[in-house]
């Protein structure tokens, strides 16, 4: 009897839950379609293409792992990998430091602080735009403003093409990357604002120095935000592309041949789509390894407030 009595209730509950689920799926449907059509299907297809020879005009030809084997003997592939690692390892810490430093300054109480925050975010809005890249190549070119300043200070004519010489071209791109600290800065600002003022008051009573306050209150409290910015920064730096394409086109002598740019060249300049897809998957694996490593290590240095 009891069973018979309970059954209608359970059915009704089930139906309600099904309805709820249906509503939920309906709401995320636009996103879900986007994920499948624009991300999942192309990703699976690119994995297939990475085992083929494909010039986009004819049909793809299955060639097994040849694309992956060819990378081993491709000098430019290794060069691009080296350049990209250097770019990521220099850029990410520098950009984070810059973002944190500016965020610290912009969370102090001053008149018109909103204006400053907006102003410092502007470079990130302009981002990897063509206009910025062109300005950059002019500022650091032989007759650029940067040499003009050096000449004015030193009193003698200084001519050195910072973006054109092998030894400095990559650093000029890293500098440009650092300048785009805006989005990390915004996240830092919101993080800093969430640290309870009582921590600092207690520290003040204990006579802590500004450095001690930063080291033992700000940094640990911000560690989840640093973690987020670090992961984001590394992923984006590995994918950096437009600056190198527009400013140096990978030159001189491939010294700014970022990995994503090399993928683009193989795919869209030389029409070796299969090879480009294979390299994309290598990049995906590299980024995944770094992300996993950071996530694993986060237990020991990221503190979530209780």
């Amino acid at each position: 009897m009891t069973v018979a009595k309970r059954t209608p209730v359970t059915q009704a509950a089930r139906a309600r839950r099904r309805n709820n689920n249906l509503a939920g799926y309906t709401f995320i449907l636009p996103w879900l379609i986007g994920l499948v059509v624009f991300t999942s299907i192309p990703m699976i297809y690119s994995l297939y293409l990475s085992f083929t020879k494909y010039d986009a005009l004819g049909a793809p030809q299955w060639i097994g792992v040849a694309n992956y084997v060819n990378m081993v003997n491709d000098d430019t592939f290794w060069k691009a990998l080296g350049v990209t690692f250097k770019y990521v390892f220099l850029l990410v810490p520098l950009r984070l430091a810059a973002a944190l430093a500016v965020a610290m300054v912009l969370t102090t109480n001053h008149k018109g602080i909103g204006l400053y925050r907006t102003a410092y975010y502007v470079p990130s809005l302009l981002g990897g735009s063509v206009a910025i890249a062109i300005i950059w190549s002019r500022i650091f070119g032989s007759n650029g403003a940067f040499n003009g300043i050096i000449s004015a200070i030193s009193g003698s004519v200084f001519s050195y093409n910072w973006v054109g010489e092998i030894s400095t071209a990559l650093y000029s791109l890293i500098l440009l990357g650092c300048w785009h600290f805006g989005s990390s800065m915004l996240i830092f600002i919101s993080g800093i604002k969430q640290i309870p003022a009582s921590y600092y008051e207690a520290a003040l009573l204990d006579g802590a120095s500004p450095w001690q306050k930063f080291r033992y209150i700000t940094l640990p409290s911000l560690s989840p935000v640093i973690f987020f910015n670090l992961v984001q920064g590394i992923i984006n730096a590995f994918k950096a592309f437009s600056e190198a394409l527009i400013i140096t086109d990978g030159g001189p002598l491939n010294s700014t041949m970022l990995f994503a740019l090399y993928i683009y060249k193989q795919g869209f300049s030389y029409f070796k789509m299969g090879y480009a897809c294979a390299m994309s998957w290598v990049l995906l694996v590299i980024i995944s390894i770094f992300s996993i490593f950071i996530f694993k290590s986060s237990d020991s240095w990221v503190h979530y407030e209780a």
């Binding site: 086109d249 030159g251 002598l253 030389y270």
Partner: protein
């Protein structure tokens, strides 16, 4: 849900039927700079006005154009009328993506009665005709004659040898402190192509499975450029890493006496320099006289996609480009000399000073030209990039000319067999 779906499908079908019934425009595509886009758009408007055929234009810069056309070809959605380049057309023909125009020509839909057969031979592959020349162009040494005579030097002649030219550039630099010629010109792979032809060699062998020049020839070219570079007779190699645009090249700013360029691009320089320095003088690439190393090249082809829906309208567009007097007077020979003899003489009679010089030069250059090279293999783009890389490594002192030459040859032979 089912009802909704069927309604949507019905609406879709109706609209596609309606679209098919309506008079569809012909889709035309080209690559170009700002200036040439204006020319093509105006030309297309004139076409619509004269024939009543509406058009839909797709245009991009050189590099993006090929990415887009390639992608559209893969999607079987190429524009009806596409502009093709000599470097790419063979690949498209081999893949069966272009329409054989022979029937359209025989039916008179594309009228070639005033066109010499030699003028369209570049678009012939096997028995088929897959592209009509938009015009012809060639390489040219543009000389800022006033700069040269002011320095007390003679303007190079067409008979000047390559070695004499190198010395001449250095002498000009020693006298004026300016550049004898422009590295932006010399790093063009086609300038090296002519240099190889001066030695009776080509970039690729006949089978296109290996390079067609010797390591000595390439090393000699690298050596000469290094000599110019070390003497300061061309700009520092670091200054050509970033392509700063033709308007900012040393030659355009009268900081270099000469520049190797293409007749199409010559007008850009001519207009910039005319007011202050007068007309430029045009010469063949030094060293080309003895072996007739120059070549007359189709500047671009007008082709019809094999998948085209508006074949007749596309043919009318090509016919209008080739034969219409008003349109060609407007284009004014800026896309190379028109292939129709009738149109060409009409345009020649109405040219301004700058364009007239290019027309005259093309006549002169033809005397120093031999057969056009076979269309380049697919790997040409990649090899061209490697050429610039190896040339840079010589000028950056990272490799000797011989090492770099051998590296490029090894790279090319591998890419050609891939």
């Amino acid at each position: 849900m089912k009802k909704l779906l069927s309604v949507i499908l019905a609406v879709l079908m109706l609209t596609s039927c309606a679209a098919a019934l309506a008079d569809e425009p012909v889709r035309v595509a080209w690559w170009g700079s700002e200036t040439s886009n204006v020319v093509y758009l105006t030309f297309s408007d004139m076409f619509t006005e004269a024939t009543g055929i509406e058009y839909e234009a797709e245009y991009l810069s050189w590099g993006d154009y090929w990415t887009k056309i390639n992608t559209l070809a893969a999607a079987n959605d190429m524009p009806d009328m596409v502009r093709m380049d000599y470097a790419y057309i063979k690949n498209y023909v081999d893949k069966g993506l272009l329409l054989d125009l022979t029937d359209l020509v025989n039916e008179g839909k594309i009228d070639l009665s005033d066109v010499a057969d030699s003028a369209i031979s570049g678009g012939r592959f096997g028995d088929g005709l897959y592209g009509i020349n938009a015009g012809s162009n060639g390489l040219v040494l543009a000389v800022n004659a006033k700069l040269v005579t002011d320095a007390g030097l003679e303007v190079p002649t067409n008979e000047m040898t390559w070695e004499e030219f190198v010395d001449w550039c250095i002498e000009f630099h020693d006298k004026t402190g300016k550049f004898g010629t422009d590295l932006f010109g010399l790093k063009d792979f086609n300038v090296y192509r002519v240099f190889a032809r001066q030695h009776n060699e080509e970039l690729y062998n006949e089978a296109q499975d290996a390079v067609g020049y010797s390591v000595e020839t390439l090393a000699a070219y690298f050596t000469d450029l290094k000599k110019l570079h070390d003497a300061g007779a061309i700009q520092n190699v670091a200054d050509v890493t970033v392509d700063i645009g033709k308007e900012n090249y040393p030659f355009a700013k009268a900081e270099a006496a000469t520049n190797m360029t293409v007749t199409d691009s010559y007008t850009t320089y001519a207009k910039l320099l005319y007011d202050e320095y007068g007309a430029l003088e045009l010469r063949i690439q030094p060293g080309s006289a003895e072996n007739k190393a120059m070549f007359v090249k189709p500047s671009q082809f007008l082709s019809i996609a094999a998948s085209a829906e508006q074949v007749d309208k596309a043919a009318a567009y090509i016919d209008y480009w080739t034969n219409d007097e008003a349109a060609n007077l407007y284009i004014n020979g800026t896309r190379g000399i028109p292939i129709s003899a009738k149109i060409s003489s009409l345009v020649a009679a109405n040219l301004d000073e700058i364009s007239a010089l290019a027309f005259d030069y093309m006549q002169v250059m033809a005397e120093y030209s031999s057969d056009l090279y076979a269309p380049d293999p697919v790997a040409h783009t990649e090899i061209g990039d490697e050429f610039v890389s190896q040339l840079s490594s010589v000028l950056f002192n990272n490799a000797t000319p011989e090492e770099a030459a051998q590296k490029l040859i090894d790279f090319s032979n591998k890419a050609l067999n891939n």
